[in-house]
Amino acid sequence: MSQIWLVPAFPLLGFILNGFLGKRFGTHFVTFVGPLAVGMAFAQSLVLFFQMLEAEGNVLNEHLYTWIASGNFEAGINFTVDQLSGLYLLIITGVGFLIHVYSVGYMKGESGYYRFFAYLNLFVFFMLLLVLGDSFLLMFVGWEGVGLCSYLLIGYYFEKDSAAEAAKKAFLFNRIGDFGVLSAVLLIFLSFGSIEFATVNAEAATRLEFGGPLVTAITLLLFLGATGKSAQIPLFVWLPDAMEGPTPVSALIHAATMVTAGLYMVARLSHLFVLAPFTMNVIAVVGATTAILAATIAITQTDIKRVLAYSTVSQLGYMFLAMGVGAFGAGVFHVMTHAFFKALLFLGSGSVILAIHHEQDMRKMGALKNKLPITYVTMLLGTLAISGIPFFSGFFSKDEILWKAFSSSFGSPWLWFVGFLTAGMTAFYMFRMIYLTFHGDSRVDSHVAEHVRESPLSITLPLVILAALAVIGGFFGVPHVFHVIPNGIEVYFHDFFAEIPAGHGNVSTEWTLMILSVIFALFSWFMASRLYHSGFEIASGLRSKWEWAYQLSLNKWYVDELYNSLIIQPGRLLSTHLLWGLFDQNVIDRAVNTTGAVARSVGNTIRPFQNGLIQNYALIFTIGTFLILWYMT
C-alpha cells in the first residue's frame, strides 16, 4: 500500500491542532506541531516519489472514498501520484517545510502566532489536495482552498487597511479566474462525460476536433483560470499587492507554490492543450508579454518585496511561455528551479527586513553585506541563479525555455527575443536589488543600524539549504548540447506530456543563443553594478533624462488606474444608477413593499370583526353552521 492520503493528512492534522488548541497550548506547542506536520508530509512524499519511480507506468493511484455517484458519472476522492504531481509534492512539502522552519524565527513574538501556522498548514493541505486529486473536482476544491488561505494570509495583519484591501483584491481577481475554470470543467463534463484527468487526457484527441471551437473554448477558459491563479495578464495585479502578507507567506504561496497552480493545470492537461493551437499561441504571447511587462516594472520599484513580486510575475510569464510553445517539461523544470531561488530570495529579503526592523524600502538599506553575511551570500547565489549565470539552476531552465521558444513548432524568434530581453532585465533588476541592499553606503537609520545583526539559525538554515538547491538544482536538466549527462528532466517526464510536432534549429544555433543570453546577463550585471554600486545617485541622473519611462515603470504601466477607470468606475456607476437606483429600488423594492401594503390593507378591512365580544363570535359561528347545514341539505 502506498498510503498517499497520509501526505495531505499531516498538514490537515497540523491545522486542526494549531487552529483549535494552539492558542491554549502556547507557542512552544505551535512551534513543534506546525513545521513537524509539513516535515512528516515531506518524508512521506519522498517515500511515495521513489515508489512512483519504480511503479508500473510511473503512476500510483489510491481510491479513498466515493464522493458523488450518479448514473454512470462518478467522482471520488482519489489520489494520484505520477511524474508531475510527484515533483510538485516534493516542491510543496520540501520548500514548505523549510519555510515553516523559517517562520518560527520570522514570526516570533507576533500576536497571531498560532493563527499563522494554522493557516500555513491549511494552505499546504489544500495545495497537496490540488496536485494529488485525480479529477477536476478535487483539484477545484484545492484550487479554491489555496485561494482562501492566500486571502487569509495576505490579510494576516488585517488591522492594517492596506493588507485588508490587498487580500480582498487577491480574492476577487482569483474569482474571475475561477469562473473560467468552472465553465471549462462544465464544458469538459458535457463533452467527455467524465472529469478525470486520465480520461480527459486519453480521449481528448478522439473526442474533440483538432483546433475546433469547442476545444479552443475549453482551453481558453482554463487558461483564464490559470491567469488568475498564476498572476498573468490580465489578472496579474493582485500579486504585487499580496506582498502585504508576512514574508514567509510571500515566499511559500506567492512565489514557490500556489502561483504555479495554473502552470500545473496546463501541464496536467497537456494533451488537451495541444489540440488547440490558437490557445497555445495565446498562452505563449500572454506569457511573454507578462514576462517583459513585469520586468520593466521591477526595474524601478524601491520596495524590496515588490521587486521580487514583479520578478515572480515575470518568471511565471516565462513558464507560461514555455507551456505555450509546447515545452511542458521545460516549464515544469523552471517551476522547480524558480521555487528554489525565489523562495530563497524572498526569505533572504525577509531576513533583511527583520534585521532592520521591518523596513522594506531599499532607499533605507545599503551596506548590509558585512552585517548580514549569511543572508548576503545566499541571496547573491539566488540572484546568480535567477539571472541565468552559467551553471546555476536558473541558467539551465531559462535557457531551455528560451531555446524552445525559438525552435519549437509553436515558437518563433519573436518570442525568443522577448524572453531574451526579459532575461537581461531580470539580471539587471536583481543585481540592482543586491547592490542597493548590501553594497554602497548605509542609508539605514542610525539608531536602527547599531542593532543590525544576523538572523537566528531557524532563518539562516533554510536560506543555506535553499541556496544549495538553487545552485545545484539545475543539473537535473542539463541541455543536450553539453553532452555531459543526459537531460534528466526529459528522461523523467518521458512519455508524460503530449507530443508536439518536431521543431527546427540545430546545435550551433542553440549554442549561439545560449552564449548571447549569457553575455546579455553579464552585461546587465555590469550595468547594474555601475549604476547602483553606491546607491541611487548615478541612476537618478539617468532618470531625469527618461522621466516619462521612469514614471511609466514606477506606476506599473498604470494598469491599476486603467482597471479602475475601465472596470471599477463604470461598474460602480452601473450599480448605483442602473442596478440600484433603477432596478433595485423601482422593481425589487417596490414588489416587496406592495406585498406588504396589500397584506396591511386587507388586514385593516377585516380587523373590526375581531372585536373581543364573544357573543358576536358565537353569532357568526352559529350563522356559519346554519349556512353549512343549509348548503348540505
Binding site: R607, Q610, N611, G612, L613, I614, Q615, A618, T622
Partner: protein, 100 residues
C-alpha cells in the same frame, strides 16, 4: 310509548334555547349553563335514536359526552372564577381585551 318525533322536537327546542342563551345572555355562568343545556339536548336525541334503533352505540356516545362535559365544567368554572377575581364582574361584554 311516546312517539319519537315528540322527543326529538323537545331535544331541538332545548338546543335552540341553549344557542339563544349563549348568544343573548350577558352573565357568563348562564352562558355556561346554556352550553351544558346544548350538550344535554344532544344527549337526549342520542338516547332516543339508540332506543328506536335498538343499538347501544348512541348510549356509549352519551357517556363520552358526559365525561367531556364534566371536565369542561371543571375547567370552565375555574376560568370564570379566576376572571371574576380579577375583574369583579361576570358580564361577558366586559371581557373584550382579546381583540385586533
Amino acid at each position: 310509548m311516546i312517539p319519537i318525533e315528540h322527543i326529538l322536537l323537545l331535544s331541538a327546542l332545548l338546543f335552540i334555547i341553549g344557542v339563544l342563551g349563549v348568544m343573548l345572555r350577558r352573565n357568563v355562568i348562564v352562558i355556561f349553563m346554556s352550553i351544558e343545556l346544548m350538550l344535554n339536548a344532544v344527549n337526549l336525541s342520542f338516547v332516543t335514536f339508540a332506543r328506536s334503533l335498538d343499538s347501544m352505540t348512541g348510549v356509549v356516545f352519551i357517556f363520552f359526552i358526559i365525561v367531556v362535559a364534566a371536565a369542561e365544567a371543571v375547567v370552565g368554572l375555574s376560568i370564570i372564577l379566576s376572571i371574576f377575581r380579577t375583574r369583579k364582574t361576570l358580564n361577558i361584554d366586559e371581557f373584550n381585551l382579546l381583540k385586533w
